[in-house]
Symmetry: C2
Subunit: 234 residues, 2 copies
Amino acid sequence: MPRSQPRPEELPGALPPVPSEHPSPSARSTKESLLDAAERLFAARGFEGTSLRAVTQAAGQSVSAAHYHFGGKRGLLRATLERRLRPVVEGRLRMLDALEARGTAPRVEEVLEAFLRPTFGGGAEAAGARARFVAARLFSDPPELVGPLIRELFGEVHRRFLDALEAALPPGTARREIELGFRMVVGATVQLLGAQPPREGTEPWPAVPEELVPRLVRFTAAGLRALAAAEQAR
Amino acid sequence: MPRSQPRPEELPGALPPVPSEHPSPSARSTKESLLDAAERLFAARGFEGTSLRAVTQAAGQSVSAAHYHFGGKRGLLRATLERRLRPVVEGRLRMLDALEARGTAPRVEEVLEAFLRPTFGGGAEAAGARARFVAARLFSDPPELVGPLIRELFGEVHRRFLDALEAALPPGTARREIELGFRMVVGATVQLLGAQPPREGTEPWPAVPEELVPRLVRFTAAGLRALAAAEQAR
DNA sequence: GTATGTTTGAAACGGTTGTTCGAATCAATC
DNA sequence: GATTGATTCGAACAACCGTTTCAAACATAC
């Protein structure tokens, strides 16, 4: 019975999914139009608050197309998140690599800039602003779906940046103190990422990356140094 | 036709709703059991991700009870948020009042402590930890519902704390710089509030208010001062 | 008791949800 | 031109959604 069902996305452990050997150009545009619409709607109304039909309708596609390409609604969210997060992660690691390949030890500000700059990457244009929708979603959408993705994408990054901060801060600073400070860095970043949220009902707070990143670096570097100094003085 | 429909919650502009002149003790426990269940479930799965039936079932009540007491699902969310946010707002204002009633001008750290302490109020016990669920929800649930509530509850608070910070920081610091810094304060706070989120699927990050508040004050005070100093040097 | 207004319960309403199915369409290969 | 596999579409599925309805149960005042 040749009931073949060739889902492009991962099946459990079957033969390699044959990832679209010949992806027709229309298939590419179908996938991307779905991702674009999903990104916009998930950002505005959240995952549970957005119906698959709303996405496909906005994309001008059929519901079954979404299932065919992404395996369902959850797969669509995952793909949407991954598309925007992957470049951020890669940018962070690349900048940190460059920093550590240099001879002299990196300063706290440099490590933080390597972490923050790719977050606001892509300039101030629409694509960059849109890309930042993920921040809000990361902390609100189904944890059993987003949680593993965060660990998979950000696990190595967080470890490496914690190490780099430990090396840049005064020696003897407790690891837990650094972890706590790093969480605050992330928090401040996420909050400013939402400065231009593509959320309906919230008026944007005009800000461009060129303005935000230096402030963020200045603020968080001083914060981390203060934590280390207080630890030192004890 | 005496088809009376005495909703305890607000009707548009009709006569005062007669807010339960004789609230039977069972009615109180009904409302509170609903609020407790709603709080737990909304925190874990979000507003749209939680069905009203799941809430009423967990509370051991009927669906109509929720509609009767809160006017529907949205009213239930609003009541849930309000119950936890109101004390925080009042605590912040009270501490700021006390600070300003004193003779000497408050320091940055004191203003920040007045802002942060009530946020982590209630100690480390379950009620306090549970109360913090709101932070996550505030930035993810339907903006057209939560947005007005935020402005209503936090509008005055934010304005007053911005003024207090402006007075405590070196004179001449640009207002926008302070607003930006304040957003980072909020971001760092929210992030640490989620240190023990009652979210399924995310392992908690053990931390108690006594440990977090001083770190938060230290970190953000240094950050704000750094922003002001850079502004000064220009 | 009766009367009055508040609170609960069970069932049903219309509408929407994510997903599945089977046939139709398309592009490329033999 | 037939075969093969990838893609698209519309229709249908069962399950669930928030809300409403109506009657029973309740407490309190007369």
